[in-house]
Symmetry: C2
Subunit: 229 residues, 2 copies
């Protein structure tokens, strides 16, 4: 058996990143989870992330405060832009896009990775998001990995950094099946952009719609708490 | 004449980035300057940055608060590590290295660039820093540019993002000569890692030593205020 390896896992409190954490733990990594307090309007996801880190056996969970709202430009950080229902979203880049979000998040993961050290960085991007978010595509992940290996001592010495995106080619239904097999309790995850203070999902935003369809397609009962309609 | 183009300029309050800003303004860019409050022990550089932005004709200056100290690991953010004199620094990566700093800083520049929009991002890395800092090398700058063009809508549509590092192959003396020609008042810049509250430089840390040698090599009087020895 090889000795345990450290990994940084970006953990949002959502369904995808919870599955990534369960996957990384199952692969034998000692997992250091990283969440961000970036002025998101759905800040309660951070307490879900902390609980998920414990539930899934992470070694540590840290929350980095960061200041993306200083630039505005997204419904997720700019309170003057409403999050639309899925039916109103239309084509192209969604208004819920946060500028350069995955670049910034992975940059922080890289920083923590240099200090720990950990050269394996995990992120939950997946095929469902490819169409709308440039920084969820495989070409972005590859380019970030190449950059990380020029940005750091461990990178230039041995090309050591690896960006793992284990959900990259999975549908939402496949992600859910994978997570259930790994023991993820999805009732402990949140996806909704408009979660109530009581932790109920709206059931109508893009994130809720994709998630509900995923459970339906997987043939698995949806454990999400929705607001009474 | 072409219409004015926006640029993001990373501005630290130091000699190098002040020269970059003067260069970008002289090239006709409308400059949006970005500084970071990242827990640095020499935080007074931020007020120097604000004054430099005005002095050199920037359109705007913003300070993003960020949380690199959460990971520790550098004498510039971890107060338990002393900044050494240049004579004690030794070989290899200096203890003043901040993990993944330029990756994080450029990621923020990219985020602001997406919002403004601005596809020209300026950074003051230069040859003097190549030996010790992986993220100051030309290969890093090229890899970041390639990543930025995968991370963003403007990037994937037209390969639009350009990381400008106009000091990349200049010595400190050449940077100073260039800046003086562009009208930079270097008395308004700070380099010292151990600046006193009165704004006096220690004259003995790595940054002071490089700066003083640069003025000497350029044959230009050094306007830096040093502590009386």
């Amino acid at each position: 058996m090889s000795s345990p390896k450290n990994a940084i896992v970006l953990l949002s409190g959502g369904l995808d990143s919870a599955t990534v954490l369960a996957h990384a733990v199952s692969e034998g990594f000692t997992c250091y989870c990283l969440s961000f307090d970036y002025g998101q309007t759905h800040k309660s996801e951070l307490s879900y992330a902390a609980a998920l880190a414990r539930h899934l056996g992470a070694a540590e969970h840290r929350i980095a405060k960061l200041d993306l709202a200083v630039f505005g430009g997204s419904a997720l950080t700019d309170r003057s832009i409403d999050v639309p229902d899925a039916a109103e979203s239309g084509e192209g880049i969604p208004v819920t896009y946060v500028p350069a979000r995955n670049t910034v998040f992975l940059a922080y993961a890289l920083a923590w990775g240099e200090v720990l050290p950990a050269v394996d960085l995990f992120i939950g991007v997946n095929a469902v998001d490819f169409s709308g978010y440039p920084d969820c595509r495989p070409a972005f992940i590859e380019a970030f990995e190449a950059m990380a290996n020029q940005a750091t001592k461990a990178g230039i010495e041995s090309n050591a950094f690896k960006i793992h995106a284990p959900l990259q080619y999975l549908s939402k239904a496949d992600i859910i099946k994978k997570g259930v097999a790994l023991g993820v309790d999805y009732a402990k995850t949140v996806s909704c952009y408009r979660l109530t203070e009581a932790g109920e999902a709206c059931g109508r935003c893009d994130a809720c719609t994709l998630r509900a369809q995923g459970f339906a397609d997987a043939g698995i009962a949806d454990p999400t708490h929705y607001v009474a309609s």
